[in-house]
Symmetry: C2
Subunit: 419 residues, 2 copies
Amino acid sequence: MSELYTEMTAGELKERKKLLLRRYDDFKAKGLKLDMSRGKPGADQLELSKGLNDVESYISDGIDVRNYGFLDGIPACKKLFADLMGVSPENVIIGPNESLTLMFDYICQCFTHGAGDIPWRCLPEVKFLCPVPGYDRHFTILEYFGIKMINIGMTAEGPDMDSVEEYIKDPAVKGMVCVPKYSNPQGVTFSAAVVERIASMKPAAEDFRIIWDNAYCVHDLFDDGDELLNIFDILPKYGNEDMLVEFCSTSKITFPGAGVSALAASKNNIAAIKKRLGAQTISYDKMNQHRHAEFFGDVNGIREHMKKHAAILKPKFDIVLKHLENELRGKGIASWITPRGGYFISLDVMDGCAKRVGELCKEAGVVLTSVGATYPYGIDERDSNIRIAPTFPPSDELELAAELLCICVQLACIEKLAG
Amino acid sequence: MSELYTEMTAGELKERKKLLLRRYDDFKAKGLKLDMSRGKPGADQLELSKGLNDVESYISDGIDVRNYGFLDGIPACKKLFADLMGVSPENVIIGPNESLTLMFDYICQCFTHGAGDIPWRCLPEVKFLCPVPGYDRHFTILEYFGIKMINIGMTAEGPDMDSVEEYIKDPAVKGMVCVPKYSNPQGVTFSAAVVERIASMKPAAEDFRIIWDNAYCVHDLFDDGDELLNIFDILPKYGNEDMLVEFCSTSKITFPGAGVSALAASKNNIAAIKKRLGAQTISYDKMNQHRHAEFFGDVNGIREHMKKHAAILKPKFDIVLKHLENELRGKGIASWITPRGGYFISLDVMDGCAKRVGELCKEAGVVLTSVGATYPYGIDERDSNIRIAPTFPPSDELELAAELLCICVQLACIEKLAG
């Protein structure tokens, strides 16, 4: 007998449903309260960075980090992030406790003062390309500034570049958001060909800007992590140095609420950003910059540290993947990519079923990322994508949550198939 | 013989100049490199907050402060700042490492999205009232957003309210910046009458906003500090709850680069600010909030701590005031207010002489705040105001710098009088 739900008779589906409902009710009886909604590190991961607080010195390269000054960050921290992003320290600005703020502030700057001659606020329409599924907080920023978002499909190699190259012929299309390594939520790393194609784009808008959110640049689950080309090595070849600003942070390296963020950009962009920054702040928190520089020593310190995260995270990803394999494989109702890093597993269920899966999970005490959140305006037209965040729950809870999720996926799809 | 330079003969002035030049040349020969330009705490002040780093716990009221969440701050820190500003915790948002960023972001929000129905960016002109002399970084923010600044004279009781009440009849006048306690640079605390008059204003612009920068709210030099009325107690009487947002920080309580900032505002304003904040950040640095809440315990902890600052700062202010008294009193060329708190002494010299004083000081190795910086657009039309920042240099250096300053003031004025 085929395991494909799509080929089963009404009677067979009914039988399946009965079995699944029994399991579902057992789960409900447990009174679970589990959260797989956000990419939050677990408590054991936070313990890895305890040593940050042991940094007692206040002096970095002769600078008293407690006092005013150093708008773009202390040299030791600029060096650390420059090495992490593969650029020179003069192309780096150290930011506040998270890179989201750096991105918001940069988009805001383009809106109020522009990235070229004309502030975006002065234009009748500004559009951005958004590979989907993507990161909900990017979409929130763009929506806040009234920027029209255009969905771009994701392939296994990155954004659908044929589509991107078509859209950028429109001068109202001013930019694109990308999570180029272990993308949120699919875990896709942009291939060398895609990175080259992005770097070589010739958008109609001269002030086109790519938000290169390299949030998971060192967040490998395996020793041999994915390789992402350093796009800053390629951009100059096409005269595109100013087209892209890269962002990263230690939010998922040290502490999510108390990390250090950074951006990398061309000389022109750094100058434009510093102009705004000089009005916005005297300096970001240099004590925290110093703590991070001392704690890691250098970029290899970060890489070693990330291996400890991987040792905690890989088994959690494996738990979810095991349940997906056991319960959903071969049933024709769901597909997923096995990620090699990052923070999420992206699950695509039968069209029209994702919201129902979310409801069923919630009723049984498991919170998923709001279904639709991975799309601009919260609209997943196919109602198909579910973002699974396996990092926060302890393993025993994750086992339960993942099993329940698989039950709910099957129930929702059977409901749909039964009509 | 009168000591008034303004009544001396050419010969007498020439004689004075000769004596002063001799002293000036002696100073130059010392090869000094002193800085009285910015309101930076001295190293001994920074040592007072060493204990911040000893906070090892990560849990505040059951919250793991290392992880995501709590957009408006952790409860313990909200309580601390609520008590400091005399409002309820629900009227408080905890901000990043300095309040300047909170103010920039708030003005930016008014510009992009408005404080009322229409974003300020959509108006042909937006004007702000700026009591002068004032804080240069306020002016930088307003200038960045193209907001036209209007000078308002300061009296010994606060801004010239007759003038303010005239200007606010213009609906293009959208706000005012105030440092209500120990104002920067004069050290004036707004009188009860002025605070009441401000709270009762009826500006033509319904979306009028006062930036109430209470930067020096607990920065007394004397045990009996100046009393500033709590304007939040008065605003409701006039239906003006939404007209004002208060800002403060621990920049000059703990560490200038690594403090905690906060704002207090009405329910409506808090909601509007949170809407933007939810797009801009996940949370500010809660570890640092926790450190501050633990270090101080409660608002009395802050008050006790400030007495230690006063013990360091009062002698420094006294050094500068002593030189001003000894060298400039009774000569008809300079006036100043003796501040009872804050970070500055504001010195007014004969019209047309302040720039020259700055030059002479610089030539002899003492850097003052850029002359003119205390006025919008850097333009002090009378070329008269000099902001003295006595906090950063050690006392022995301050003695030298203050003496040199007095020499330079006399030299510049004699040059002017001699024509």
